[in-house]
């Protein structure tokens, strides 16, 4: 199974020995991905989806050793949006190699992530059961209008490998993510989200 882009390396293929430093651009893109992971605005989901090469059956997505392959980009984004509380990522390390001839860039990313431990999900809903007798006047129980501030928990460690198609260097950001392997590599014991 081949990627069409293999045969089309592009006219201005930079290559690893090219003096052109593409690092800044790639760093920006990785930060953009992290921002998409932290996004709570539902209208931005499609933008995130479009970054992935969702038309190819070979696009690989792995989250904490759980594969979402066979083009289940949408499953991954759905899972992320509905099953994971609001996050905040910080980039701590980035390295990348442009693989000559293959048309790919492999990125090794490390970062920190913290989770909203307020009990609200990404959409601002919580699990509190409200009764008719008790008026909803507290921020804990109100579900509408007021923008809720997250209660950030402690930082977790993240290791992330991303495969990007080389045409991203031509400023083509559509469907460029071909592989995405996200792992939480350390977790603080005092987080609410840690298994006991």
């Amino acid at each position: 199974m081949l990627h069409t882009s293999f045969n089309n390396p592009g006219s201005n293929n930079p290559g690893p020995n090219n003096n052109n430093d593409q690092s800044g651009f790639i760093e920006l893109f990785v930060k953009k991905i992290l921002l998409h992971l932290d996004e709570t605005d539902q209208s931005k989901l499609n933008d995130f989806y479009l970054l992935f090469d969702h038309t190819s059956p070979n696009t690989k997505i792995i989250f904490n050793s759980q594969p979402f392959d066979n083009n289940h980009v949408i499953e991954f984004i759905k899972m992320w949006n509905t099953s994971i509380v609001t996050t905040q990522h910080v980039l701590t390390s980035l390295d990348y190699h442009i693989i000559p001839g293959l048309g790919f860039i492999i990125c090794n990313v490390n970062g920190k992530v913290r989770f909203d431990e307020s009990g609200n999900d990404r959409l601002g809903n919580n699990s509190v059961i409200t009764t008719a007798q008790q008026p909803i006047n507290n921020s804990l129980t109100s579900t509408t209008t007021v923008k809720k501030r997250p209660l950030w928990g402690p930082y977790f460690g993240v290791s992330l490998q991303i495969m990007l198609q080389e045409r991203i260097l031509n400023n083509d950001l559509n469907n460029v993510i071909s592989g995405f392997n996200y792992s939480i590599v350390y977790q603080p014991k005092d987080s609410l989200l840690v298994e006991h």
Binding site: M1, L2, F6, P16, D21, S23, I26, N58, K60, I62, N64, S65, Q66, D69, N70, S83, I84, V85, T92, S93, L94, D95, Y96, H97, I99, P100, G101, L102, F104, I106, N108, N110, K112, E117, G119, D121, N125, S127, V128, I129, L140, T141, Y155, F156, G157, S159, Q161, M163, S178, G179, N181, S183, I184, V185, Y186, Q187, P188, S191, L192, L193
Partner: protein, 649 residues
Amino acid sequence: MINRFNNTNFHNPNNLSQLAQQNVNSNKVKISINGWQNATQNDVINFISRKTRIAVVDSYIDGQLVYGFVNNITQANNLLNYNGIRFAGNALKFNIINDQNGTGVGTTNNTIKLLTEFLYKRFNPQLKMLDLSALHQDPVLVSNGLFSSLSTQSKMFPALMKLAESESGKNPAFIIESINLSDNNLKDVNGLNSMALTFPTLKNLCLANNQISKFRSLENWKNKFKYLRELILTNNPITNDLSYKNEMLRLFPRLILLDNVYVRDETKLNSILNLPFYKKQFFWENDQLGQYATDFISNFLNLWDSNTRTQLLQLYTPQSQFSTSVDSSIPTSTTPNSDQDPSFGLYLPLSRNISKVSSSKSRLERLNVGLEQIEKAFRSLPKTKHFLLESPHNYSVESWGFAPGFIITLHGFYEEVGKPDLDRDLASNSNKSNNRNRRYNNNNNNNRLGKKAFDRVWLVIPQGNSVIVASDMLCVRAYVEGSWVKSPPSQTKVQPQQQPLQAQQPLQVQQPLQVQQPLQVQQPLQAQQPLQVQQPLQVQQPLQVQQPLQVQQSGAILTPPTSAGTNMSNASANNIINTSTTTTLQIPPEIKSKLNMQQLILVNKIHLETKLNVQYTLMLCEQSGWNYDVAIRGFQSSINNIPREAYGM
């Protein structure tokens, strides 16, 4: 005796003081005082009373010691806290004298025994519940005077918690999920603060029928009982407060039931607060890729740790790339075993962390392309030891097919055992680094050797009958325990045969070994296609001149996997290249299927060290109880008696 603290008597002050006096008399504790000799007996007793506010009565001298009595065991224990206090130029030493004449409990040991018995009497192992309700009505406690006043009561709970903690350490059946503290006349929970430390994962708590009236006292429990599911506070004044429910929801993030009313939707709560999947130790797309990744990693790291790290260059080509990046962020201090003061001095001159290194020139310089640069980089990194064999649970692997090759990611740790061969600081750009060292002058501290955590990614591409590493990226970070490590390993030495903790793991690994055979038979060679059509890298065959030793050592690494599948379902059909015959060590499938991953790694490693053939390697492993050190020692001690046929195929 039993009923004297029932509620009617308890609130009668006359009765109370009378009964208290009785208690005081029956519970005196005998103590001894040493180190008083520079003054008179009266002086020392007065001094103690002034300093400690504890009265020692009926004192007398016997030999070197002054003996006396204090009112009860609590006072005696308090007195012990003053051990070493200076008096007339000497340090005083207090001891509790084991009272033999049966006047009461009187000694620390007896009290502990009594309270421990009491704990077990109140502990229900089926319900995992500790019932500490109505302590002042307990006949045993009351008759022993352990509940004679409010001050002893307030010390009672911390003492019980301490005992419960040590008991749960000793007795695996002593698991407490619920605690009942109803009917204890509690006005606040200050005496119970230690409970949050003893039982941080407590699920159910009953405080009914107490006098708790203020939120402030419960505030100490905020962020403490994170797993509290049910709380009962009925018949406490606090329940009348308008914000009662909201406050309780705020204090206890996983509270579901408050006074027998559901306050949170448990399913919804779990979906919010639990990650959908916690990190598992291994992921591989298909079984063969899994076995391949295991072989690759164990062989690669074996050479990486050895003195001949540069032998690995056989796997690299003039277009291969290698780089190191330093993630200098400090892990959260509450992460188990995290290194809060890591030193990266040896790596920083090589670090290609784009988010930290801003100069374009450095970014390009620190990318190593081709054999010469990669060799230099390898020799500029500290000498290491990985513990894949000794503590496999500390390593996590993901491996997935990608276009013409596959990607292996390894998370784990290593120990730095020696400074690098090449001092990068001096070798390159000495002017700049010298300035820097002079300026900060903390070179030694920055170059400390220690443990490091790392994430390493290889992009591996099958090439003919071997493989090449197209890309190799190493991220070094402060040591920290991996998120996939389920429970702290109790034994340092791993014994593969008896490892309840890792029971699921061999299952995953054994599977591929068993199905390998049928796969090859059933699936004809359909798919050389991806390999033949694609010749993207103009690769020169890596070093052809190889000595027998090198061939053998790197043989397993050089063998491409039987499948670099591009998706799960039809991965095996993709490109079966029958290369299993070229692996370093040919273990017959029926034996292989009985070994788990640690055993396989061990067999490979022993074989590499000893050059023994399969039969003898297995024999050595079995006889040594699958312990690497024992096996190597056994091999060395009997090296002269090993027959020639033990070597070679």
